[in-house]
Amino acid sequence: MDLSYSEENEEFRAKLQEFLKENWPLPESIGDLKQREEEFRRRATEAGYMMRSIPKEYGGSEQPLDFLKGEIIREEIKKHGAPTEVVHIGTGRVVPVLLQHGTPEQKAYWIPPTVRREFMWCQGYSEPNAGSDLASLKTRAELVGDKWIINGQKIWSSGAHKYPFMVALIRTEPEDVAPRHKGISYFLLDLRQPGVEIRPIKQISGEPEFNEVFFTNAEAPIDAVVGGRGNGWNVSRMLLRYERAAFSGINWADHLIQRCVRTAKGTMRNGKPAIEDPAVRADIARLQARAMAMRYSAYRDMSMEAVGEPSGDYMMLQKLYLTEMLLKLDDITRDLLADDLMMMNPGIDTDGLKGNAKWVDASLQSLKIRIAGGSSNIQRNIIGERVLGLPRDGVGVNARSNREASK
């Protein structure tokens, strides 16, 4: 075991610090803030600090996978106050899939503008009757001549109201193909066409984020499918291994704990800051233990993977573990908020200002986390089956196929 940074890593850090000193802030002559930020990101990519997993020919910096360097970059950029790499579905999901499964033409066409954030992406997986059970999706694409004609409806597409491109799972083969998920293909779609109608869905926080997307004879070129017809299930389930994925949840948890401490410092209880209450302190320490467990479990997994050792099942559990932690955090912050829980933006009221503004929203969002990306019950099924080797569900289609298989 060795958690210290190697000499090479310390040199990497020193060079990065130098780069940051030289390149941020940039002179105002370069343009407005946004332009300066973009220029910084361009330089950071060129220097190998951003877009690290993307080949140079497609606009990335093509660096070997190194989660520790990823952490160093995050730490130093944050410390320096420079613009961070923008994480979006394009670079986070579409590009890795294209790199692994795309044709050279597909890569050349889609990746560079996605890296430059000229192509921005939303996701079209769920349908009104296919939420957790994606294999039952019904949106269809039929090949007519050299075009796909698409009909159906997607739902819960975050950002479809502002992003022009969608990565979607669509049924291209007959519905009686068994198993059911075999008939699905992985599509890259341009939503800017008459056959596509987008209706925003307001969230319970009052903000729009989700959308319904209706396809009525929408079109896509024949090469809109990545990874081959009927192979969409496998393509979309590709394990994403890029430096930031494992730690984004953990870093977020650490950040929230720090914010919770600040709120507890700013909240008076019986004439004393709440952070001095032993019960509050112990509660926050409980969160810290969980964040620590997450971080070092992830380090362990990554370290073992790096040398080809079987790394265990931690990554499969992290989402549920994080979800539980956020629930406990919510309990603590709501008790600290007290009256302020009743306002969407308590920070507005100067009397109540104690950095609370985002906790009410966080409390509502914590529900979304439990639902989105596979509900907690689905996660528990997966853990029961894959980690513990327990039998598949005895109810529903899986049960039926199990029963048929055992006949």
């Binding site: 769920s126 009757n129 939420g131 957790s132 059970d133 039952s136 739902i155 819960w156 869905i201 307001k202 969230q203 319970i204 009052g206 989700f210 909240t267 008076m268 209880r269 709501r334 008790d335 908020l337 007290a338 009256d339 302020d340 829980l341 009743m342 306002m343 969407m344 933006n345 507005i348 009221d349 009397d351 109540g352 009410v360 409390s363 509502l364 529900l367 979304k368 439990r370 639902i371 989105a372 509900s375 907690s376 019950n377 528990r380 569900d393 109810v395 529903g396 289609v397 899986n398 049960a399 039926r400």
Partner: protein, 359 residues
């Protein structure tokens, strides 16, 4: 001993239940949620006509002379329906005057509140969990008060507000008088919007019977919120129960998955017993006042915490649709969050309850 609703009370609950039937009320709540109306005046008028505002007012002051038990039964139905009406503030202002007013004050102020002609509200906390009468710092100068009160339910439409004053006293302020201004906010629970009221040398009329009445008002609030929580919790549980029997995934009804069934069972196990608890809270307030502060504190803390957990679980059981503005689950969820916060957070009230035991 008969711990049941008598025939009059059953009748009352049935009638209120009819006024507040979901098919009547939900479209009106929706109009408020979507910002088409500020509040549900139509339903309030129906409730006023039925006599909701007269229940707790003594007969000699043009009221029905009933008790908090009857009022709590109505609060359960209001919680169930999520009706966007100014019930909470109005009845608490009424109770403040019933408990704290001199005969002359009662005779002068109660008939208007009982008939619904005058809309009242209540201003207790000064922020940061200062719901207890002992925490109020707003001091009168002569016959005026200055300062800010927070979390006043429907304060923006009230004509009269009862204000908690230093030393656990209560005072009546007419909102239309000079020196009173109301600041509204983006509220979490849009069916019960709260606001802050600023008093700048505003004229105040002190109620005769101070600190004891103030405790009674707080206690009444806790009992009524308990009832609201029970009513809301059962309703959203029913919604989830119905949904999981219709919605399918993986080729089966959600309800056929044992995990779903058990999640709902766990909810029911927590929710059902809170009815006895809120009944007892209202009962002690009405009939065993020496036990009321203890019982209402425990009841409010417990029922609202359960409502919150229940609303979250039931929202989650609806999947993605539960997280949309268009679907109604969030109306209950946000009322649950309001119920936990208004009048004192659960941890504070569990602790308050221990002031009345011999530990």
């Amino acid at each position: 001993m008969k711990f049941r609703l008598d025939e009059d009370q059953q009748q009352l609950q049935a009638t209120i239940g009819k006024i507040l039937a979901a098919d009547r009320i939900q479209p009106r709540v929706r109009a408020v949620i979507d910002g088409k109306k500020a509040w549900d005046e139509e339903t309030w008028q129906e409730l006023v006509e039925f006599g909701l505002t007269a229940i707790i007012v003594p007969e000699e002051n043009d009221g029905m002379g009933l008790s908090l038990i009857e009022l709590a039964i109505c609060a359960e139905e209001l919680g169930r329906s999520t009706a966007a009406v100014p019930f909470l503030g109005h009845v608490l202002a009424t109770i403040a005057i019933v408990e704290g007013g001199s005969e002359e004050q009662k005779a002068r102020l109660l008939p208007g509140l009982a008939s619904g002609e005058v809309l009242g509200s209540i201003a207790l906390t000064e922020g940061n969990d200062t719901w207890a009468p002992a925490d109020w710092r707003m001091a009168p100068e002569g016959t005026t008060i200055s300062g800010r009160k927070r979390n006043v339910p429907n304060g923006d439409i009230a004509q009269l507000v009862v204000v908690g004053i230093e030393g656990g006293r209560l005072g009546v302020v007419e909102m239309a008088k000079p020196g009173v201004s109301c600041e509204t906010f983006e509220c979490l629970d849009l069916t019960r919007p709260i606001c802050s009221i600023d008093f700048d040398k505003a004229e105040v009329e002190l109620l005769q019977n101070g600190p004891a009445a103030a405790t009674r008002v707080w206690d009444a609030a806790l009992a009524l919120l308990s009832a609201d929580a029970y009513g809301g919790a059962w309703k959203i549980t029913e919604m989830a129960r119905d949904y999981v029997q219709v919605r399918e995934a993986f080729g089966a009804k959600l309800a056929e998955f044992q995990a779903i069934k058990h999640q709902l069972a766990n909810v029911v196990v927590e929710v059902e017993p809170t009815r006895g608890l809120y009944w007892f809270a209202a009962y002690t307030y009405a009939r065993m006042p020496e036990k009321a502060s203890h019982a209402v504190s425990l009841a409010k803390a417990q029922t609202t915490e359960v409502y919150d957990i229940c609303a979250r679980m039931c929202t989650e059981l609806h999947g993605g649709i539960g997280f949309t503005w268009e679907f109604d689950a969030h109306v209950w969820l946000k009322r649950a969050m309001f119920d936990t916060a208004w009048g004192g957070r659960p941890q504070r009230l569990f602790l308050r309850a221990t002031e009345f035991v011999d530990w």
